[in-house]
Amino acid sequence: MTENSKTNKLASRRGFLKTAGLGSIGGVAAASLGTAASAQSGEPIVIGGPIQMTGGGAADGIEFKQGLEMAAEEINAAGGILGRPVKIVVADTESGGDDKITSAGQRLIDRDGASALITGYNFGSQVALQNVAADASVIYMHADTARAHTSLVGGDPEKYWSSFMYCPSEVFYGFAYLNFIKNLEETGQFTGANKKIALVTGPIQYSINIANSIKEEAAKYGYEISLYETVEAPTNDWGPTLAKIREDEPGFIVITHFFPGDQAQFMKQFLTNPTNSLVYLQYGASLAAFRDIAEEASEDVLYATNIGVLSGDVGTDFTARYLAKYGEKASANGGAQTYEALHMFAQAAAMAGGVGEAYDDVQNKKIADRLRTMIYRGPTGTIRFNPETQQAYSYPVETNDPSLGMSHIFSQIEKKEENGKIISPTPYGVTEFRTPKWIKS
């Protein structure tokens, strides 16, 4: 809930980021605890990636797979995990529901011999793979950003000891967004045309939960919800929704339906006759695909993610290496997630004395114990788990120390050719908020 002042921000940022970067480099080296020679000779450790390689979530899925592969290469080059190389096997969850997700996870364990499951996010109820992991006693790390994980694991920690969500849940988006716009108005950086928020959500639980958390909290922050609309996926023509927005002009528009193609179409169609509204697009706008499709219409859009690559040495270095490896169209925000999850797992496993096979709950519980207590600094910030819910702490929502929580960053796209620039929170902001060019007054 806290934000440091602007004046402190510039002074402290450089020093902090430098320190954070060194911490991460040390962490990567510690992951191996072996030799390059022994990595070639040990029995491979299979890491299963139940990832959506096709369907609506595939743009991210591709990045998740690449992030895993990049981390595996680095870990193997440094000697593997106690001399054993890491091998990535991916099973497509097809952007499907629990049936697809469960069978992909089970297949990875039973057929491919996966000792752990690591992914970005999947759709479905977002509690499917926790059960697969619990039954097979394998570590499962994901970034579903789901309150469902918090409730499930927090409600039965004995059963779900092996599941870790390495980012905060989606409900924080609601508080953080309201806090963000209120701060913009209070500091005079932006004055909304009015206090109305038009909320547009989608069919996925993640989008609905975020929209609901904004809806429930808006009044406390002095805002009112003037429109609550649910669209389907895909949504190509936004005519009816835009007609409603134009009929009752809101000061703020929030689209929590996060498919990048649909968000791009929204912006293109919105800008044919824009209202004086600050536009915030949940997550999808952070992907290169959004800027590719929206082009100029992507500029000045605001977005947030609570697991995005940060500014500073660690994030910049990762982004440069990632783009060099996978091309300029790649999205470091997606790849970084599984990249750092695998590095964190490797470190925990090395500290625990190795990786157990599936159904080896003794050894794998040792890894879970290490994960529960360690602090890992990767490209997207600090992963530190709440030991009760095994969900990463959020900064600045849950802690005011950026070295102890995953940063909830707000970014704004300046140029269609570039990723958005971080504008909040301290110390990661690299630029100031600018009023979108379509706002006339």
Binding site: I62, V231, N236, N273
Partner: protein
């Protein structure tokens, strides 16, 4: 007033895309009794072919679009020559062809995925600019979609009603044996129908992707809507499919505005159930015969 105008514009844009997607489906069902489950992937194929020609090969956009449309015709012809003609005369053709074409759809979708990946590429067939009617905006892209659909569907109707070629198609649809006795080369007619259906599907795919993005699964949603439209119109009724598509597009937009976007498609599905209960042959007449 602005809202009503916006509903009409959105409805006509959606309806035009739905119409192009559904008339090909109606044509193949009406002529051959074949429900083509690969019709959606024909759309995908056309969209990717156009994208490949324009973006990867550097072909000028009008020719790239033409190539995309021709690619649809090519895949339609291929499907007939390699699969459909071997199954046409089986007693259980209507059932087995659905399974076969569903298999083709899965295969082609996977091949496209393998070749292009799942990245949502932008369709280069875009027309910038807009026209204002009062406070309502009509983009040139929407106008182009409506115009393209109107031209292609009108050409289709003219072809079926005013030409010997259309007569041959209608005769084959009514009675294949009688058509043969009258000198109609029915095998060739079927091939021509598949080419036309593929061409229309590809055109629909290019238009749909211009308002969305390219993805290997992009044909799935339009296929479901095309099926709904064909059932409402009466399977096999080409003009009926076109009219039903426009009507359903406007209805979906109106429901989206007055009741919420999420109710648009469920109401369409509800309509299908009502039509099947009270007018099983669809709003435009009998089943099994191609009607202009």
């Amino acid at each position: 007033m602005d809202a009503i105008l916006q509903i009409v514009i959105t409805g006509l844009t959606l309806g035009s895309m739905y119409a192009l997607g559904s008339v090909g489906l109606a044509l193949t069902y009406g002529t051959m009794g074949m429900f083509n489950m690969a019709h959606g992937v024909f759309m995908t194929f056309g969209a990717y072919a156009s994208y490949t020609a324009a973006t990867l090969w550097g072909v000028p956009l009008p020719f790239a679009i033409l190539l995309g449309v021709m690619a649809g015709g090519f895949i339609g012809a291929s499907m007939h020559l390699f699969i459909v003609r071997f199954m046409l005369h089986r007693e259980d053709f209507q059932t087995t062809i659905m399974v076969a074409t569903a298999g083709v759809a899965i295969l082609f979708q996977d091949l496209i995925l393998k070749q292009f990946g799942a990245y949502p590429f932008k369709q280069p067939a875009q027309i910038e600019g807009l026209y204002r009617i009062g406070n309502t905006v009509v983009t040139y892209q929407s106008l182009a979609i409506m115009a393209t659909a109107a031209v292609l569907i009108s050409a289709m109707a003219w072809l079926l009603t005013k030409t010997r070629f259309g007569l041959a198609i209608r005769a084959t649809a009514m009675n294949q044996d009688a058509a043969k006795l009258m000198g109609v080369k029915t095998e060739l007619t079927y091939l021509q129908v598949m080419i036309i259906a593929g061409t229309l599907a590809a055109a629909a795919g290019i238009l749909i992707s211009s308002l969305a993005s390219l993805s290997p699964a992009m044909g799935t949603n339009p296929l479901i809507r095309a099926f709904v439209i064909c059932v409402v119109a009466g399977l096999g009724s080409v003009t009926g499919a076109g009219l039903a598509a426009i009507a359903l597009g406007v209805m979906e937009a109106a429901i989206g505005y007055y009741f919420g976007v999420r109710y648009g498609f469920p109401v369409m599905l509800g309509l299908v159930i009502l039509v099947l209960i009270f007018k099983p042959a669809g709003l435009f007449g009998k089943q099994g015969v191609v009607r202009a």
